[in-house]
């Protein structure tokens, strides 16, 4: 019947992606603008990147953000992977409904409520706020995202491998590290990257849980954006967008290659046994 995609489908795809990508593209283009005016083209220049490199405060906040994102993403990946195992592999236990509720609720909870509740917790236990309180709160909401990503990976793979290992006397912890973890690794890595970018990106929760001396990059950008749009911010945003794009593309290519490798191995194994 229908052979190629219809003009309607192509138009909607093109318009949809134009809407998604044009604003970011414009932002990137104007970061190379000579003029201080962000919306009038004054010729190509990289001077705002140079300016950026001399902006000590901005660089410092970027460094804070990177450290927060790295530490909280790592903690969130460990906790989130455990949570995914609980959701998929461990059947019934008391409090399961509460547990899965606590995993899914933060995914849609407005950040402003999460931020306020974290802050009031830290105040209630007399914990001085700063670098570490940001990390703890980022870990908490990011682990739920990791759990969901890893969960979808766990659901999709053959459980008989784990069972075989356990039947041969492999203890559960060893089974996890030797069999399960390598198989779900793409999911775990994707979860870590998601947690990393969520943390790197967060403004609201950081603003509530921060203390003196811990200003993250989004907080810095936000305070400057309120004063107006500048090409320097465009340059900072372009660098961030560039890093994330390269990382995501590499990760997805790596996953695809690994998947193909696995399929080849499986086919070879089937051929050998058959």
């Amino acid at each position: 019947m229908r052979t190629g995609p219809s003009w309607f489908n192509i138009t909607s795809i093109v318009l949809g992606f134009a809407f998604l990508y044009l604003p970011i593209l414009i932002l990137v283009v104007f970061s190379f603008n000579e003029s201080r005016l962000v919306t009038v083209w004054g010729g190509f220049s990289t001077k705002w990147y140079g300016e950026l490199m001399r902006n000590q405060q901005l660089l410092e906040s970027a460094f804070v953000s990177l450290r927060v994102a790295f530490l909280s993403a790592t903690a969130a990946t460990v906790l989130g992977t455990m949570a995914a195992l609980v959701l998929v592999r461990i059947g019934r236990f008391r409090g399961r409904t509460l547990f899965s509720g606590m995993i899914y609720a933060p995914l849609v909870m407005p950040e402003i409520i999460l931020g306020l509740s974290f802050l009031l917790l830290f105040v209630a236990i007399d914990q001085p706020r700063g670098f570490w309180t940001i990390i703890i709160s980022h870990t908490t909401f990011a682990m739920c995202f990791v759990a969901v990503v890893v969960q979808s990976r766990l659901v999709g793979f053959d459980q008989s491998l784990e069972e075989a290992a356990q039947d041969l006397g492999c203890p559960p912890a060893r089974t996890f590290f030797v069999i399960t973890l390598p198989l779900i690794l793409p999911g775990v890595i994707a979860g870590w990257m998601l947690a990393f970018t969520l943390s790197l990106d967060d403004l609201v929760i950081s603003s509530f849980t921060t203390g003196p001396g811990a200003t993250t990059l989004p907080m810095k950008i936000y305070s400057q954006v309120r004063l107006g749009v500048t090409p320097e911010i465009n340059a900072a945003c372009t660098i961030l967008v560039g890093i994330v794009t390269v990382a995501v593309v590499i990760a997805s290519l790596a996953t695809r290659r690994q998947e193909m490798q696995r399929e080849r191995d499986e086919r070879r194994a089937a051929a050998a046994t058959g």
Binding site: Y21, P110, I221
Partner: protein, 308 residues
């Protein structure tokens, strides 16, 4: 015998460890704070650090506990009903989020549909292109629109050059800009579940309808749309719920007449430093959102069961 016994104990301990660590973490850091927020919403504002009258004094023992309980007051909640700023903010947040969800659906449906009907070889790439903006900073994506929507911004420049308008449209700092911001930022959340349910659809149903002489438009409304409903519902919840409590978009793109509860809460907290009232605002917002959140989880649960 003993070895087997200790193995069993080990396995039990391991199980307890795997459940216990994330469970306790979430109980302490996610659930407990809500009770603290509720508790503080019942206390009174005080000029001190932290700026609220302490509600629990553990050293006072049982008598002190009874005294604090009797000292709880719903004054902050009464205040929320008295000052019309609050209920107007709630109402307008729900309205803005609802309208924006409909608009996102209008923009997202054709995109998801086009993707699901595209050649199979394109799909992984198209899917990645939808996910990619989700990875780039929310703040940056909102910021990008300021330069476009400003009075002397690119959109106005373009429209003036073409000659569609004679004077610049005022879009930035209005509700229109907030709608654009929400649709843009949350579009991937809607497209992904919608695409998933459209892609699963059995196309032979449409072919059958066409063979029987059903016009395409009618086939869409009687077959495609009802079958894509799970995706429509899941996606709409994923846009609506966080949009109600949105702060960054109304703050950066909205104007003074844009009332949204996230912004009101932020002002109450950071500008007025009234922690008890901000806690009460958060508790009421949570109560408003509990209904859609529970509905959403119920829907997801049912969908998961159906798939299994």
């Amino acid at each position: 015998m003993e070895a087997i016994g200790s193995d069993k104990v080990k396995a039990r301990l391991g199980r307890l460890f795997v459940i216990g660590v994330p469970f306790v973490w979430l109980l302490v850091l996610f659930l407990a704070p809500f009770f603290i927020v509720f508790k503080i919403s019942l206390s009174e504002v005080a000029v001190s650090i932290p700026p609220y009258a302490p509600t629990f004094d553990w050293s006072a023992g049982w008598d002190g506990f009874v005294e604090t309980i009797s000292g709880f007051s719903f004054a902050n909640y009464v205040w929320l009903t008295e000052d019309d700023l609050y209920w107007r903010s709630y109402l307008s947040s729900v309205m803005i989020a609802g309208t924006a969800t409909l608009l996102t659906l209008l923009v997202g449906y054709p995109l998801a549909y086009g993707m699901a009907r595209s050649p199979k070889a394109w799909r992984p790439t198209l899917l990645m292109l939808v996910i990619l903006p989700f990875w780039t900073s929310f703040l940056i994506r909102v910021y990008a629109w300021i330069g476009i929507l400003k009075n002397e911004g690119l959109l106005n420049q373009l429209l003036l050059t073409i000659g569609v308008i004679n004077e610049p449209l005022i879009i930035l700092n209005t509700n229109t800009a907030v709608y654009i911001g929400i649709v843009y930022s949350y579009l991937p959340f809607l497209v992904l579940p919608l695409y998933a349910s459209l892609e699963k659809m059995d196309e032979s149903l449409l072919e059958a309808a066409q063979d029987l002489g059903c016009p395409p438009w009618k086939a869409f409304w009687t077959i495609t749309f009802p079958l894509s409903l799970p995706g429509v519902i899941a996606g709409s919840f994923l846009v609506f719920i966080p949009a109600v409590g949105e702060f960054v978009i109304p703050d950066l793109l909205g104007g003074s007449e844009t009332l949204m509860i996230g912004k009101t809460l932020w002002m109450e907290f950071f500008n007025n430093r009234d922690w008890p009232v901000s806690s009460a605002v958060a508790v009421v917002l949570l109560l408003i959102l509990v209904v859609p959140i529970v509905l959403f989880q119920h829907h997801q649960h049912k969908a998961a069961e159906k798939a299994a």
